[in-house]
């Protein structure tokens, strides 16, 4: 029935129905557009700021810029440490599709040997993920050109030019200057502890030794930043802003590289140390430790095998003998002991003893031998220095006692670090009863005090301590702190280094200095002096003291023959000196290990040559 009624079409009713439905639809359309608009308003107006930030986070990357490391000059402005641009082929393994194949192709293209590839794999293990790892360092222009042509075939591989530290004087100055090397996990932890890791975000190397380590903070500089726009693939589109890094400060050292080089060559194949220091302010003119090694190995990235060979060498090239080598001072400390004897009134300038060639403690059979088997005869304190009579000092030491000797020698800086401006320094040993108790849990024996009188027994000193100890005598009590740094330069501003001193050695009778200084001068100038032949016809006045240290105790009836015993048990030859005699500019310390001959025949001639060279050079520069 219904059906039939609908067959009669009512166009108006249909249009009205349709019209109502269109009206409802349009309301829905308007509402829906309203919802869309509200949502857009929310995104683009209300939350605009936060989306703006996220958009910038997407596209803006902050790239840290490493500051250029400060340069290091010697006292005459010669460059000791510089930054050289070096091209290296670097690989980001995470960005390479097939690493093995890429490496094989690169090997063929650039003639890279298998060892280099093995080293690459090794350093890859140590590096953080997504870091560039150096495959080939120091690319030649030819290699760089060869690679550049085919670069597009090697995604993830690129040539990078970076500044690499270079030490033009190489091994001659290694221990004083030190070196920089790649920042390792240990360094990172240290930086983190000191809250400095942010400043090192772009830095790849850090000072590891010597001046480079001690003045790291001055040399490093301040990090800069660059804002770059990147796309989703991390490619740089453009630079938005740059905050340039502040380069590190330049250092001027007291060292004279000519003198240093001369001293280094002078030691020849010997092992040992040479120090030249201005006693007036502790300025170090030369500081050599031998054997040495090339610091550039470390700066350019030392290989594992190279490093192992340095570590395992029985001659310990890594040791800074000047500040870490513990040498028995032998006769070189007789001047300080003489001053102590005079001060305490145990001897006077004229007190004489009879030296038969040996010394004995009352009631003990053991004979302490003098180096001169037949003895020096009657000797006073001056003769005992000039001729280096041992018996006189056996007697003196026994009378002074270990306590008095220890307490006084400490005032000269023995047994403690000198405070030189490098971190690698040991205190060596100035023995005492307390020290022996703590070290060996044994009492002190009188016989040991006798050996202390000639700078043997447990007594060891570093060459830098001997330089300070000698400077104290030369300065009549003033004790300088040795120092490598002359000045800091930042742009045009030059800041001189702080000159430090320690508590001076004061005497009740300052004339006692004169007694000893005269004796030291006679050692080189009088015919009987142990250094006389070395300093014959010198153009300058000077003073000095030889020393020959036994490395191993010799049996009672044993003869010492240097050429027949194991090289490592040969004597050390020592010399301490100063020049000119009246107004000293320079203290010289020489220690030569396990050599044939003693202080007078080996060390003193070296000192003579050094001082000759120094005065010639001073004259030459004065004329210019």
């Amino acid at each position: 029935m219904k059906h039939k009624r609908v067959t009669i079409r009512d166009h108006h009713a249909e249009s009205a129905l349709f019209g109502r439905r269109v009206f409802v639809s349009l309301i829905i359309v308007v509402l829906a557009f309203g919802v869309l608009f509200t949502n857009m308003y929310h995104l683009q107006v209300v939350d605009h700021q936060s989306f703006q930030t996220r958009s910038n986070d997407n596209r803006i990357k902050v790239v840290p810029l490493a500051p250029n490391r400060g340069l290091i000059y010697d006292r005459r402005g010669r460059l000791l440490a510089e930054n050289r641009p070096v091209m290296s082929l670097e690989v980001t393994p995470e960005k390479v599709q097939d690493l093995t194949q890429t490496l094989t192709e690169l090997q063929q293209l650039l003639a890279i040997d298998d060892e280099t590839v093995a080293e690459f794999h090794e350093s890859r293990r140590r590096e953080r993920r997504f870091n560039q790892i150096i495959l080939l360092d120091g690319l030649t222009e030819q290699q760089a050109a060869k690679f550049a042509v085919r670069q597009h075939e090697f995604p993830g591989v690129s040539i990078e030019a970076r500044l690499v530290r270079h030490y033009p004087y190489g091994e001659a100055i290694t221990h004083a200057l030190g070196y920089v090397a790649k920042i390792n996990r240990n360094d990172l932890n240290n930086l983190r502890e000191q809250d400095k890791q942010a400043n090192y975000a772009a830095t790849r190397v850090i000072g590891k030794l010597g001046i480079e380590r001690y003045y790291e903070e001055l040399l490093h500089g301040t990090i800069g930043y660059q804002q770059v726009e990147v796309d989703i693939h991390g490619r740089n589109i453009r630079t938005l802003s740059v905050e340039p890094p502040i380069p590190g400060q330049d250092l001027h050292l007291e060292l004279d590289i000519e003198l240093q080089q001369f001293a280094y060559d002078l030691l020849g194949d010997e092992r040992g140390s040479i120090i030249l220091m201005d006693p007036n302010d502790g300025a170090i003119r030369a500081m050599v430790s031998k054997p040495s090694y090339d610091p550039n190995w470390f700066a350019q990235g030392i290989s594992y095998s190279q490093y192992q060979s340095l570590l395992s060498s029985r001659h310990s090239p890594l040791l800074n003998r000047s500040t870490q080598g513990g040498y028995p001072p032998a006769s070189t400390v007789k001047p300080q002991l003489a001053v102590l004897g005079l001060e305490q009134g145990i001897i006077t300038p004229t007190t004489k003893i009879w030296d038969p060639g040996w010394f004995q403690i009352d009631g003990v059979d053991h004979r302490y031998r003098d180096w001169l088997a037949w003895g020096h005869g009657w000797v006073n304190v001056t003769d005992a220095i000039v001729e280096s009579c041992d018996t006189f000092y056996y007697d003196l030491a026994l009378k002074l006692g270990i306590d008095s000797i220890h307490d006084d020698m400490v005032r000269y800086g023995f047994g403690a670090r000198t405070g030189i401006d490098i971190a690698e320094e040991s205190s060596a040993v100035m023995p005492s009863r307390g020290w022996k108790r703590a070290r060996f849990n044994q009492p002190w024996y009188a016989g040991e005090t006798v050996s202390i009188g000639i700078g043997q027994s447990y007594w060891t000193t570093t060459p830098i301590q001997l330089a300070v100890g000698t400077a104290v005598v030369v300065n009549r009590g003033e004790r300088p702190v040795p120092r490598l740094l002359h000045a800091i330069q930042e742009g045009e501003v030059v800041l001189p280094a702080v000159v430090e001193t320690r508590e001076p050695v004061t005497l009740k009778n300052p004339k006692n200095w004169d007694v000893v200084l005269r004796a030291l001068n006679l050692t080189v100038s009088s015919i009987k002096g142990t250094a006389h032949s070395a300093f014959k016809d010198a153009t300058f006045t000077s003073g000095g003291k030889t020393g020959t240290a036994q490395v191993r105790s010799i049996g009672q009836e044993e003869e010492y023959n240097a050429e027949e015993i194991d090289e490592r048990y040969r004597d050390n030859a020592m010399y301490v000196g100063y020049a000119p005699a009246d107004n000293p500019e320079l203290v010289v310390v020489i220690a030569v290990e396990n050599t044939i001959g003693g202080g007078g025949s080996v060390a003193a001639p070296m000192a003579r040559k050094l001082l000759d060279f120094y005065f010639e050079q001073e004259q030459r520069y004065a004329q210019q």
Binding site: F18, V22, S25, V30, L36, Y41, R54, S55, I232
Partner: protein
């Protein structure tokens, strides 16, 4: 006003609705500008888009010339052809991206679901209009079943976006034909009950993923949520005034995926800001209103229903695309109508507008007679 009359006559002769044509042309120009920017200033791509626009407009003008009686007569045959082709797709279709949508007929590869976008509203409108509106309950039920056939077949491909659009086009016909409010509420409830069934049995994994990601994009910011997060960043960072044409960093630096296709609205919003968005929404609104006016003015019920449904489907396109790129709706793969880069949907859309123009101009011819 003489010249105005002259041009009106000229437009009448070629079955062109002036305001609608103007609106569509403006959208096409915006499409070219935005595609050029979103493609990273790729002239070749922009050129291809221009060619497509040309083809689509030609298709529109050609279809506008077809007599409406013929359109009405061909409704059912077209629908039948579509169903056969869809069946072919399900049996012999070619897959891409885990979905079978294309049918290779040897000479040409076609996407039968596009035919259905027109065939479904045409057929449902013809079916309901034949005996006047409102239709009887039996007719409505039959129309509903007719509608479900292609919808489910397309959903099975799977192509959720298109099946939603096709279902909408049919439902709009039903709605405009005066289906009772009680039934509307009943169907809404039934749809609600259908959701769990859809989720558990009918949806593919990647579709479920899309829904989950839609509910919380930050759940997987580098994976499935990446698109929508980057899209919202692009829109939000555009602000009121936008970053300027070709200056959108999210799109130019390629942080925004699918920037020239489904996500082109994000590029537009980033570069032209809220001001541009308002303009675009007004333009879309204008096209929809014009379409509805044409539907109102149409003489025959079939024409009214078809014009209304096509217009409202166009509106759903806009709503779904903008809703999905701005985080209101799940990402279902619906392009922004007439703006997104891509050919098939543009041709279909403008073919629909061709029908609208035929309806718009048909009425006046009748009046002149």
């Amino acid at each position: 006003m003489r010249s105005n009359n002259e041009s009106n006559k000229w437009l009448q002769r070629f079955h062109i609705d002036g305001p609608l044509f103007l609106g569509l042309l403006t959208l096409a120009v915006l499409s070219l500008a935005t595609v050029y920017s979103a493609s990273g200033q790729d002239l070749a791509m922009t050129e291809r888009q221009l060619i497509r626009i040309g083809l689509a407009f030609t298709a529109m003008l050609v279809i506008a010339q077809i007599p409406l009686s013929a359109v009405e007569r061909f409704s059912l045959p077209l629908f039948a052809l579509g169903v056969v082709l869809l069946l072919g797709v399900l049996l012999f279709g070619e897959s891409s991206k885990g979905a079978q949508r294309w049918l290779n007929l040897g000479v040409v590869t076609i996407q039968p679901s596009e035919i259905m976008k027109l065939a479904v509203p045409m057929t449902i409108a013809w079916f309901l209009a034949e005996h006047g509106i409102p239709p009887t309950k039996r007719r409505m039920a039959a129309a509903f079943l007719l509608l479900m056939v292609p919808t489910l077949m397309i959903a099975k491909q799977p192509d959720l976006g298109t099946s939603i659009l096709i279902a909408s086009s049919g439902i709009f016909v039903l709605f405009l034909a005066g289906i009772s409010w009680r039934l509307i509420i009943f169907f809404a409830a039934a749809l609600g009950a259908f959701v769990p069934v859809l989720w558990l049995f009918l949806m593919h994994d990647y579709q479920r993923q899309r829904v989950l990601t839609f509910l919380d994009p930050e759940r997987d910011p580098l994976g499935a949520g990446y698109q929508i997060i980057q899209s919202k960043i692009a829109i939000g960072s555009g602000g009121v005034e936008g970053k300027g044409w070709l200056q959108g960093t999210q799109s130019q630096l390629e942080f925004l995926p699918e920037r020239h296709t489904d996500f082109i609205f994000s590029v537009f919003s980033e570069e032209f800001g809220l001001v541009g968005v308002i303009g675009l929404l007004l333009l879309y609104g204008f096209v929809v209103f014009r379409g509805m006016i044409i539907a109102m003015r149409a003489q025959k019920v079939y024409q009214k229903l078809l014009a209304g449904s096509l217009t409202l489907t166009f509106f759903v396109y806009v709503l779904v695309n903008i809703g999905m790129v701005s985080g209101l709706l799940p990402v279902v793969g619906v392009p922004l109508p007439l703006i997104s880069y891509g050919g098939t949907s543009m041709v279909t859309l403008l073919a629909g507008f061709g029908l609208l123009m035929a309806i718009a101009t048909n009425k006046r011819l009748v009046m002149h007679d």
